[in-house]
Amino acid sequence: MKRETLINAALLLGLLLVPLWAYVTDEPFTITLATKVAILALAGVGLNIALGLGGLVSLGHAAFFGIGGYAMGILASHAQSYTPLMESPFLIEGTKSMPVIWVTAILASALAALVIGTLSLRTSGVYFIMITLAFGQMLFFFAISWPAYGGEDGLSIYVRNGFPGMNTLDPIQFFALCFALLLAALWFSHRLANAPFGLALNAARQSPARVETVGLSPFHLRLIAFIISGAITGLAGALFADLNRFVSPNMLSWQTSGEIMIFIILGGVGRLCGPVAGAALFIALEHFLGGLSEFWHIWLGLLLLLVVLFARGGLIGVLAGRQVAHD
């Protein structure tokens, strides 16, 4: 545990220092890259609760990421065009306020996770993977065929949304917000893993029969984990859309689900900071290899293969060794 804590701290410190250095040397693009890492890591922290702790291989987390993105896009686009979302039975107006957008994104994706989870958690294994994938694809095609919000072209907003007391247009300040949310999510997920809930969820992954025999319900544990997981990934989606000032069906595509899962596998499944390491590695590869060749995904694939074959604990596993059972 000691060693992994140290590695996690170093990793997070690195993620903080890079954009600070970029700020000092005036390289806003690097700050944006770091922001992207923080946001994608946050999406991974969400998925890791379902995947790492709960053993739920969801290939549909893009649904939550995209719902968060569209929560931002829809609210902000109504605010910038001064048209209400709806007038009856009661008036709902758009907003450019990040806190309101975040809460909306969290609630909307939690609700979606409740529905998807209730239906898909009755199954397991490949069926679960396929059903979550199917739900993701349904939302993807729904977004494409919904002209009111841009359809295939997606939705742009002119200016980044605001946060009380901060200038979110300043890259370093927006990074600070994203980084703070990442830290909060990491803290929460750490607490969760060590709480009775995490203990039971973790046991349900390893031996569902045991969990039932002590009178607990694996289904309820997993459903709650899935909802929390979806909500965090949804929040990341809202931030991601805000970073790009753009949301499109792409955020809902199965490739997005796959990428979020890749962060976790690269970084270490079930490791607290696995998604941070994975997202950082992913963005670094995309940035450096992507600059050299259009086909950088080949190298990513190769790396993924190596990790799966030789380093099941991912990057964190290689650095910190075998997972110590939570304390």
């Binding site: 009775p196 203990l199 973790n202 025999t213 002590v214 607990l216």
Partner: protein, 249 residues
């Protein structure tokens, strides 16, 4: 006579052409150890699965404390007071021994939805878990990873988890399977004490243990109970000698 804690009434279960349970009626009375013996494949584990709710009988009823629990889930039966141990250990292998015991304590408490408190800092839970580990002799192994336990120690942990539930009745499927002589003797001593807390329905192949412990014995052959009685009655029973005890009776 006192009312039984646990009873099955005419339980039958068919797997294709195989009658795994054939009209099984048995009772478990307060304070007793009722052992079920029978050759491999006789249907002992199948019977236990039906008692604990992982398998639904084709017909017949299961009663716990006089209440019909046939329609209840495994989970509800556990909450109603069934403490089961598995023939093949069902444990969270990546977790520590203590964490496995804590899981039982959580179940006994009736829920695991606390999300912020550290499970290990909850002294109530921890006390229940540690007490159970101490009783089965695993206190020193509490912080070991469960997968590093020996086979016999895993059997002990199974019993410890059942203990944390503080059940009305224990249902144990071969708790001594694969244990050495010393381990079996220790487990025999433990079960002997446990019956004072809750009666035990005990499936076991270890005849020394069975004869030492059982107040009553039922012999299951091809899904049917061919005899029930005290140890001496069963030893004297001709059908049983023929069907099962044959060589060593």
């Amino acid at each position: 006579m006192t009312d039984p804690v646990l009873a099955t009434h005419n339980i039958s279960k068919q797997f294709g052409a195989l009658k795994a349970s054939d009209d099984i009626s048995l009772t478990l009375r307060p304070g007793e150890i009722h052992a079920i013996i029978g050759p491999n494949g006789a249907g002992k584990s199948t019977l236990i699965a039906q008692i604990c709710g992982t398998l639904a009988p084709d017909s017949g009823r299961v009663e716990l404390m006089g209440r019909d629990v046939t329609a209840l889930t495994t989970r509800a039966r556990a909450q109603a007071g069934l403490g089961r141990t598995f023939q093949i250990s069902a444990l969270a292998m990546e977790d520590t021994v203590l964490q496995n015991a804590l899981l039982g304590a959580l179940g006994a408490r009736g829920g695991a939805f606390a999300m912020f408190r550290r499970a290990l800092s909850d002294t109530n839970l921890r006390d229940v878990a540690m007490m159970a580990l101490e009783r089965v002799g695993l206190a020193d192994e509490a912080s070991m990873r469960t997968s590093d336990l020996s086979h016999g120690q895993r059997r002990q942990l199974e019993v410890a988890i059942a203990l944390t539930l503080n059940p009305k009745a224990f249902v144990m499927d071969e708790p001594m399977a694969g244990m050495g002589a010393e381990g079996s003797a220790k487990m025999t001593g433990l079960l002997d004490e446990l019956r004072k807390e809750a009666p035990i329905l005990l499936v076991e192949h270890d005849m020394d243990a069975v004869f030492a412990l059982a107040d009553r014995l039922s012999v299951l052959v091809y899904g049917r109970i061919i005899a029930t009685g005290s140890v001496s009655e069963i030893r004297a029973n001709k059908d049983v000698q023929q069907a099962y005890l044959g060589e060593d009776a």
